[in-house]
Amino acid sequence: MTALADPPRQQFQVDANRTSSDSPRRAAVRRALSNYKTARDRTGATFTDWKSARAAAATIKHEAVNHLDQYLEEFEQKFTARGGKVFWASDSKQARDYILNLAEAKGVRSIVKSKAMTGEEIHLNQALLEKGYGVVESDLGEYIQQLKGEAPYHFVFPCMHLRRDEISDLFEKELGTAKTDSPEELTMIARRVLRRAYIEADMGISGGNFIVADTGMISITENEGNARLTVGLPKIHVALIGIEKVVPRLGDLALFLPMLATAGTGQHLTGYNSMYGGPRQPGEIDGPEEFHVVFLDNHRTRLLADPEQRDALHCIRCGACLNVCPIFKNIGGHTYGTTYQGPIGSVITPHFRGLEDWKHLSGASSLCGACTETCPVGIDIHHHLLHNRRNAAAQKPAAGEQLLWKAFTFLMKRPALYRLATKFAPLGSLLHPLIARTMVDPVRSWTDTREFPAAPLHSFRAQFKAHQRAQTLASNLGGTQ
């Protein structure tokens, strides 16, 4: 390990400073998300009782996550009975190697992918490209990000930060198409490229929104129909899914599909909802000849072992907590430097990639709780940020900070000393303007951008005492009359 300041934290600071002052981008993101909010509120209102739906969803996920082994095995048994293959990957490397080996063994040349955050998580594209495979992202947003050479900005809306003209410029540069301002034309440009990719691909890779245990199927929900083609056309299919995505019963989707659509995009139901139960069966006319499901652990079991934060595995990746997060809206998705951005990303990344390197994400929150309020499966998101802070301080206290809190405690458990200290507030206020916003201003990180209030001459304590004296006096006088 280097002795230098850790890079993720530094990168976060630098990017946060830059993005939080990029007013046009912030305004655009805010606008997009306020449209989302209007749609979500409208659709949410069509649930008879959103609150009870949330409670039911939380109960189902709790059941699933607390019997994860049982439900995953149930899936495996049903899925393999139909000729599907299941691979259990403990970490990214195992998952990558399995897919690379499979591609090599089958003589695969080109691959088409539909949206899979697990793919981002294990840096799959990079590994495939390094081995010389052609890989095309088929989700429009992901495709744009791939062309741009950038990670997704938001795990549901990968290119939400880009303006239409920026996308048009990108297409012009990368594909040589003419400039256009029409969303339909932009979509058509991408579609032409993508159709070719589906036809040429000999392997399709997808994620999965739900693993349904009792029928041994995976559920994929999407708006463009691209996942359908990704699964249906190539000879071999691989679905790379986090182990926490399980639900016990097919019937549970009656709740989860509309809930995911509502919380995620404000739709009643996502455009295309498909269920896949394995490879093409005898007598069927389409579907892949081979269907592999790769179950990705990659430290999810670490989270499972933590009873306090285990509910973070309930996440259905709807993105709602990002959409309402004032931090996300002001710093944007790339600033996090993680696969999963926003509040839920700040909770789980320390478990996946190490608390010491990623604790700053839990610190960079005002703990406003908008995320927890909106989460459809009732994850206690913002309190988990507090728990991460506590665990980080216990694991490796920051020397300076610990000293500060020790001094703070020393003062706060001595009321007389505390009172004495507060007596200096008016004097401090008197002198503060002399040094405000200079190098020696102790509250400069406040005063650089905001005024600091001046302390009035008489504190509340002093005023209250005077008030009580006056009252006593008045009642004494009253008594003698």
């Binding site: 005002s366 507090l386 005023q463």
Partner: protein, 238 residues
């Protein structure tokens, strides 16, 4: 009723009027107000920073000070939430857990106490002006306070209350967050204050003085004309 006030350091030193306004409102309703001299800080700063051992030492001190209170009120929804929501968590599984829970049970947010405990909505207050209300996050989401302050403000004569678009959006204060991540915190303040300005209000009212320090800090640097007031100050005026 005997009401015991918890007045956090920044209200004590920077916003004494808020504390006094609470005293006036409660006394006018015929209640006795007391202020234990030995109170200091609720312990939220070390608690939010992850230093729970240190926070427990400070919190234990307040639990001892407020042990005999009948009702505890605070001028900051944030400190109120510390007493009410986080003390039980901080002392969970510790010897002091029962005492922490007892403190939590008798702590009230100021407006909730007036409306839901005392059943009062009209305090006979008069305040001329156009105002908008900021929901402090701790009050709103930890304590569930939304309607009570509005109910009280509706009965203030002369006051015109206009809701802002971002009423429930965090102002960006967040305690030590405001100085650890000043850029993000200020960007959040800007969003909040732009929404305030859109209402063309002359006043921003809140039930949390810590939010008002942030909002006022930004407004005074960038706008100047909009004033911040604590709910108690409006309710005390006539």
């Amino acid at each position: 009723m005997r009401v015991t006030l918890f007045v956090p350091c920044f209200i004590d030193s920077l916003y004494p009027n808020v504390g006094m306004a609470m005293v006036h409102v409660l006394e006018r309703l015929g209640h006795t107000v007391e202020f234990p001299e030995n109170q200091t800080c609720c312990g939220q700063p070390p608690f939010n920073s992850g230093y729970w051992d240190e926070a427990r030492v400070v919190a234990a001190k307040q639990i001892a000070v407020f042990k005999d209170a009948e009702v505890i009120l605070s001028g900051s929804g944030s400190c109120g939430a510390m007493f009410k929501v986080f003390y039980p968590e901080l002392f969970h599984g510790q010897p002091m857990e029962p005492e922490a829970k007892a403190i939590a049970a008798k702590t009230w947010e100021f407006s909730e106490f007036l409306v839901n405990k005392l059943g009062v909505t009209d305090l006979g207050a008069r305040f001329e002006g156009r105002a908008t209300f900021h929901d402090g996050c701790h009050g709103l989401r930890e304590l569930g306070t939304k309607l009570a302050p509005r109910e009280l403000l509706k009965h203030v004569k002369g006051l015109e209350l206009v809701e802002m678009g971002e009423a429930e959006t965090c102002c960006g204060f967040g305690g030590t967050f405001a100085v650890k991540y000043p850029q993000i915190s200020t960007a959040m303040a800007e969003v909040k204050c732009n929404s305030i300005q859109e209402t063309q209000a002359d006043y921003v009212i809140s039930n949390d003085s810590s939010c008002l320090m942030q909002i006022g800090g930004w407004l005074n640097r960038n706008v100047g004309s909009i004033k911040c007031l604590h709910l108690a100050e409006v309710l005390a005026s006539r």
